[in-house]
Amino acid sequence: RRSRSKQSSVSSIADDQITDLVSKLQHLIPELRRRRFDKVSTSKVLQETCNYIRSLHREVEDLSDRLSQLLASTDSDSDQAAIIRSLLMQ
């Protein structure tokens, strides 16, 4: 499928598609939002997007760890209704 790379004018993924994706992604990533007016390279945006998703995964992993410990030590059954009410009030 990618054997057309011999011709320099034909790329396997349309360039404007990538550019579009990249410029929109730039707004989503906190790291890059600050540098909105700087020109950020395509590969940098994609790299930062991947880094950001991975950091979110790690954050949730850490939270899962803490929560599992808290749940083990707390007798949450008696407070369950109260906690749910608090969560719905947030």
């Binding site: 320099s8 993924i13 579009d20 390279s41 590969s43 991947c50 992993e61 719905l88």
Partner: protein
């Protein structure tokens, strides 16, 4: 995508997750961090109501007990050897690098390995917004449970008066 930022969605998710966690506590004596993470992801996918590919992929994935669901295997080596080829008549030297990173992104978002660029954008933005909400909601639950430890249960009942 913006709905992940609403208070309502946050409330729905955090209360659903907490209920799911209490349920699983009753059936098994302890919940490992990995199982909890899996539950958090599944509840997140359910909250998405089947509107996105990543959420459908999470729900379709088999439940793994104790093992890491995400496989961190390296991509095919052929991708890297392309970078080593001498650049003869190519205007865009960066294209292989970009393709490589696109592929990495596709692997990070569930169910999107063969997705086109446009759809990938949509899925990625929705997924990122959902993950951010997930982190906020789980932090909130952690705080409430933490507070429960610091005070006696009876005190807390009294302090939650205004609903």
């Amino acid at each position: 995508m913006n709905r992940w930022r609403t208070k309502r969605e946050h409330q729905i998710y955090s209360s659903k997750l907490f209920q799911a966690l209490c349920r699983s506590r009753r059936t098994s004596s302890s919940t490992s961090a990995k199982e909890l993470h899996q539950t958090a992801d599944r509840v997140l996918a359910i909250t998405a109501k089947g509107t996105s590919r990543w959420s459908r992929a999470i729900l379709a994935a088999p439940l793994t007990a104790g093992t890491n669901m995400k496989k961190h295997k390296k991509a095919k080596v052929t991708v890297h050897t392309r970078l080593r080829k001498p650049v003869v008549n190519r205007e865009k030297k960066k294209l292989p690098v970009v393709e490589r990173k696109l592929k990495a992104l596709r692997r990070l978002v569930p169910g999107c390995r063969k997705l086109s660029c446009n759809n990938l954008l949509e899925e990625t933005s929705d997924y990122i917004a959902a993950l951010e909400m997930q982190a906020r909601a789980m932090t909130a639950i952690t705080e409430f449970l933490g507070r429960g430890e610091a005070q006696a249960p009876t005190d807390r009942q009294g302090s939650i008066g205004n609903m």
